[in-house]
């Protein structure tokens, strides 16, 4: 059996319902996901593609609040304490209630780290410090389009983890893992940060190509699409999500 690949898988809190989202989380964990990246739905998810944006809008239409998302995260944390949980969302949801306040609530819900793409590492409004105070990590997002100087600045900024978006653009379309991709990851690793790599990852072949270069492979839209397609049957949803997780972790071989 090939070596298992570390997988960080994405999930929209409450999508399509809290119960089915919980089923999806269970399927991801059973499929070998080591980390769950749970997105708090936001009205204007400008860095997400149509699959995730659609999911966020569906959840918000139900009147879903931040407190509902954090309660969902807490339930996942209690059910699967062995799995790390990273909260992904946008600056507005973190900044508006107060960053310290938000981080404290997130930490007490079982969140281990925060991924907030529109609070970049040098414009973070105190997020990194507030994460530290609450025993969490802030995980900045890097992009291949970064200038060499900026990339170097981020690599040397002392973050334990960096999320590398492996393609210019938004989530949810295919990404080719090329020599440039690997070179980008290696540049980020130079400062000692461990790298999570994702954006457009949907096949075992892609995750295998990344394995060894990253701490974990990140996959998001592929799961959201499977959840959307199988929302009418809990069993089908569980199987589809688990099978995809097994494929991406290399455990189906």
């Amino acid at each position: 059996m090939e070596q298992k690949i570390n997988l960080m898988s994405h999930l929209v809190a409450g999508y399509p319902t809290d119960e089915l989202a919980f089923t999806a989380a269970k399927a991801l964990v059973d499929g070998g996901a080591a980390i769950l990246e749970i997105q708090l739905p936001f009205s204007d998810p400008s860095a997400d593609g149509p699959a995730i944006q659609g999911a966020c809008n569906e959840v918000l239409k139900r009147g879903y609040r931040t407190k509902d998302g954090l309660a969902f995260i807490k339930r996942i944390h209690e059910a699967f304490p062995q799995v790390s949980i990273y909260l992904m969302s946008y600056g507005s949801l973190v900044y508006t209630p107060g960053i310290k306040n938000f981080c404290s609530r997130a930490a007490s819900s079982g969140v281990n780290g925060m991924i907030i793409p529109d609070l970049p590492f040098d414009y973070d409004e105190g997020l990194t410090a507030a994460c530290k105070e609450n025993g969490m990590v802030n995980i900045p997002v890097a992009a291949p389009s970064m200038s060499p100087q900026r990339l170097e600045k981020l690599a040397g900024a002392g973050f334990p983890y960096v999320y590398a978006a492996l393609r210019t653009g938004i989530t949810g379309t295919d990404t080719r893992i090329s020599e440039e991709t690997i070179s980008f990851i290696e540049k980020l690793r130079k400062g000692g940060s461990r790298i999570y790599g994702g954006f457009g990852i949907s096949s075992g072949k892609q995750s295998a190509a990344l394995s060894g270069h990253v701490e974990a492979v990140v996959a998001g839209s592929v799961f959201v699409r499977l959840i959307t397609e199988n929302a009418s049957s809990e069993e089908a949803l569980y199987q589809a999500v688990k099978n995809k997780a097994l494929e991406l972790t290399g455990c189906n071989k």
């Binding site: 809008n57 931040t66 507005s92 508006t96 938004i170």
Partner: protein, 421 residues
Amino acid sequence: MSFSDNGFFGQFGGKYVAEVLRRPLDELEIAFKEAMADPSFLEELQQIQRDYIGRETPLLHAETASKILGGAQIYIKLEGLANTGAHKINNAIGQCLLAKRMGKKRIIAETGAGQHGVATAAACAKLGLDCTVYMGEVDVRRQQPNVAAMELYGAKVHSVTSGSRTLKDAVNEAMRDWAANPDTTHYVLGSALGPAPFPDIVREFQSVIGKEVKRQAEERHLDVEALIACVGGGSNSIGFFSPFIDEPGPRLIGVEAGGIGPGIGENASRMTGNASRDGILQGYKSRFLIDEDGQALSTRSISAGLDYCGIGPQLAALGKSGRVEFTSALDKEALEAVKFFAKNEGVLFALESAHAGAEAIKLAPTLSPEKAIIVNMSGRGDKDVFITSPVFRPEKWLDFLHAEIERLESDKDIHEAKIME
């Protein structure tokens, strides 16, 4: 506070964007600064402002209106006479010239009322650039005349069906497009908001309005008490106010959309409303209509151009410091202002600009006839005929629409249109 300090106006502004957008923003900032220091760029811009936009636009003394209201002399800056019918062309031409200078061949834009989309589409046609305009599905429906114009100028109008299907969703789509295509594409943002350097860029290209007003008022020796402009994102107002900001006077008054009332979701009053908070949304920090979690709230205004949940960061800062005073006008007050100035001055305000006209109607009688107030008519109201006619002349309008449908269904005269395809 004329220019941002590293992208910030006081506590507002910034570049709160995902890393994928950082490089295009940084490149744009450098290119803009270089262009504005290059006399040949400024010369080309001035020439096209004169020959294509039709600058300078007149400053009209609204004598009859002033007499009826019995107070200050009202002057109207007729930006609606600019080619394409609104101030938006000032910025669109400026940014498209900048994009050409940067070697970009493709332009994207977002639009609410449609005036910015029309201006960008026209600027692209004039300068030979490929153009795609994102517009919320709701706005596409209520601003059909502008959609038709954009298509005639050769632009692709992309109807956005996500979220609330209005301006903010069109902005999100445009940002996504830009994030995916930064090397070939320039995003012509239409208002003085969004991530730095857009607030500086849009203000500078719109400041031509204020510079002309200043000169025109001085030539006529006007004792100007106040400048009044409507504020959606705030591009016409910040351009109008720009040369006066660092001076002690006149009063600068921004008028927001009061919609149908003060309730949440009933207006778009970011500075005067009761649902406004400091926030970070769509790449910048400012005042937004957001709930306590930080989710964007729905907004409402009869004018699509004012129906936006955020306000430009410089205006938010100027509001906070007190240099710009903010007030609001209700939908019905804007409609009354359209009627008043049309009948008494022969000037048809766009519904957006009519909010400023409504404030002038309130303010003028409180001032002496020796004083002047200047209203920026940022656009003209031809585009609003589908909104104003059902209000002002509902039966005749219905008859007209029925007759049009009948004519189209019977296929008479349609062969003329087919030639255009």
